[in-house]
Amino acid sequence: MPCGKRDLGVRCVVNAIEDRHTAVTVHDLSKTYPGVVGRMPVLRSLSFDVASGGWTTLIGPSGCGKTTLLRIVAGLIPADEGTVRIDGASAPRAGSVSYLPQHDTLLPWRTALDNAVLAWEISGRPTAEAHAAARSLFERFGLAGFEAHYPLQLSGGMRQRVAVIRSFLVDRSILLLDEPLGALDPLTRTSMQDWLYGVWSEMRKTIVLVTHDVEEALMLSDEIHVLGPRPASIRKTIRIPDERPRQRTSPSYYDGREQLLRLLFGDLP
């Protein structure tokens, strides 16, 4: 990837070696919410980079501020301090990245196919073209035959598939996923991890995933940032160089699992 003018500097040299540029830069981010007594800190001087085309995961205990962090990166709420850069441009505005919220991901009055094309509809592209594109993705990713179903008629796993397809159909290179598999049962979740990898390996977007699931993080990520309890800050960053698709039974998976659990829960017995 050639270095743009704005990338000149040390980072550019480093990234040039890796043949990647930085898609998202989060620098010294802080956020507080009004609490019962004074303001409650949610994020405290948080910094990390997301490599373009890679899969970055933020893992941390429930309620540590992961969703707040994603909403700031998505440009939905402002930070108190610090900066977020999306592809070098400062101050993200809503609409500059694709964002999949945690709950209520589909509009219940739209069929699965109409949900999938929502982003195209909003950007004003021709509906027929969008429908054709969504239809072919439905075929390829195990949703054929469910195009005309309403969300209430779909299983939890199916619903999330539709939501993920919609996120990939958004014309943005960066995709933020807020616990996309969090509400699913363990069996469905495991098969959905493989499915998610399948979609990503074909569509190739930069992904920032928020999760509290160790298996999910290890199976999918290039890089895992482990967050501590609120106010969230990064405890440690782990790189996973293993080829994908990965095995849930490999020794390196177990090593990674132990390392992550230690970081999340302190020393294991």
Partner: protein, 263 residues
């Protein structure tokens, strides 16, 4: 489908049983016609005098439809405006509530002074009572949108207008349709009240006239006509609701099939 047919049969049976009790009581107790006519006499009057009723039905129907249209347009419009302008909402809220505390009967004569004997005072009364459930349900409906859905639309770069059209309005639709059902039934009452106070035609007018002439079977025939109008209007809205909220009914139908009822 079977379940639906059963519901219709049951409904008809209940109505017929009530009518039978009414008929028997009136005949056995020897109640005079001007106190309470038996259903058979009402039905005969309705059929025989249908040509007389028809122009009155047309007038009242026109008032109801116009009144309801105004109620929906003004009510829904105000609901949207008040939702987007919270300061105005707080300022106007007492006024809107107060408008419903005024007994319509008390101001209906005034409306006749203002608008004359024609169509408009009736439309005004119907609109006045019908707009309230629309305002309340539209603004409450708009408020009930899921915050995650709003995040989603904003992250897709949707404008406020797109968010209203693609998210807030559809998600408020169940509440709006409930409001519409209430507004429709109220507008029937409203139009009749308007006619009661002063009119030259319409079912309300016919009732007042017939009552003063001791033709009480015709009063009831007019009530029957009004009831049928109301039921047709309500049925139409129910059909509209089933169409617009198919995403919900599609599931409740299967639920009924699965469990043999609602749980």
């Amino acid at each position: 489908m079977k379940r639906r047919a059963a519901a219709i049969v049951l409904g008809a049976a209940i109505i017929l049983a009530l009518l039978a009790v009414w008929e028997i009581c009136v005949r056995q107790l020897g109640v005079p016609q001007f106190v309470l006519p038996p259903p058979s006499a009402i039905l005969r009057a309705f059929v025989l005098q249908f040509p007389t009723l028809l122009p009155h039905i047309a007038t009242t129907l026109g008032e109801i439809v116009l009144g309801l249209t105004f109620a929906v347009v003004i009510g829904a419009g105000l609901g949207v405006v008040l939702f987007y302008a919270p300061a105005l909402d707080r300022a106007l809220h007492p006024l809107i509530i107060a408008s419903q505390m005024i007994p319509v009967f008390a101001i209906a004569p005034l409306l006749i002074v203002w608008f004359g004997y024609g169509l408009w005072p009736k439309v005004a009364v119907a609109a006045m009572i019908g707009f309230f459930p629309m305002v309340v349900n539209v603004s409450d409906g708009l408020r009930s949108t899921s915050p995650d859905h709003i995040d989603l639309l904003r992250s897709l770069g949707a404008s406020r207008w797109q968010t209203l059209i693609k998210l807030r309005l559809p998600s408020s639709l169940p509440a709006v349709l409930s409001g519409l059902k209430v507004a429709a039934t109220l507008s029937v009452v409203g139009a009749t009240i308007g006619e009661w106070v002063g009119a030259r035609q319409g079912l309300g007018y016919l009732m007042v006239q017939s009552h003063s002439q001791f033709r009480d079977t015709r009063v009831f025939a007019a009530i029957l006509a009004l009831t049928i109008l109301g039921l047709l209007l309500y049925g139409g809205i129910r059909m509209l609701e089933r169409r617009l909220l198919r995403w919900r009914t599609a599931v409740t139908d299967t639920e009924e099939e699965l469990y043999g009822g609602r749980w």
